[in-house]
Symmetry: C2
Subunit: 106 residues, 2 copies
């Protein structure tokens, strides 16, 4: 439940291109999708896509497994669910965690 970890994930999804990539992974379901097909779908240069995928993987939101010459990418749903749970628990109206202790709550 590290805040910096969650911030890193939010930042990863905050880039419109990466959000599009991540959504394509989600639509691909548990089977995932090869990098090449992602490239066709999103329409950006391979090197750019690779950088974005690296960021999504580094923050835990996605993973890759090699299948021959192809790299299959998958969304890590459990990590996204963690993130959503974090937002719901600590950033919404009825936030229960991290109760007010500072002078900022006056």
């Amino acid at each position: 439940m590290d805040i910096l970890t969650q911030a890193n994930r939010l930042e990863a999804l905050g880039n419109p291109t990466r959000l599009a990539i991540y959504r394509a992974l989600v639509r691909a379901g548990h089977a995932g999708t090869p990098v090449g097909k992602l490239q066709d779908a999103i329409g950006i240069p391979a090197s750019t896509l690779s950088h974005h995928l690296a960021k999504l993987c580094a923050c835990g939101l996605a993973g890759q497994t090699r299948e021959g010459t192809v790299l299959r990418c998958r969304a890590h749903y459990d990590v996204m669910e963690q993130l959503v749970a974090f937002l719901a628990a600590e950033c919404c109206a009825d936030a229960t965690a991290a109760p007010c202790e500072t002078s900022a709550c006056g």
Copy 2:
């Protein structure tokens, strides 16, 4: 439900300092908190804080109302709930919206 709008909000929360600011706003509840108290709580220069608050307000996640010389800041819970709903609906395992239409789903 504009994707760019949601990406903008995710980006806003993706900065650790801004996430801390936003969480302080949430902890302050519906009453909100003045900029000055936020500054005491977070411990950053006024101009830096002001920039971050401006970004949170610009993307809709927060708002400000003047009370005399004081500016009171509040989290916009409905906007955050929209964002969480977006993530749950389009970025999680059982995503129903935006069904697979592209070649990226093979």
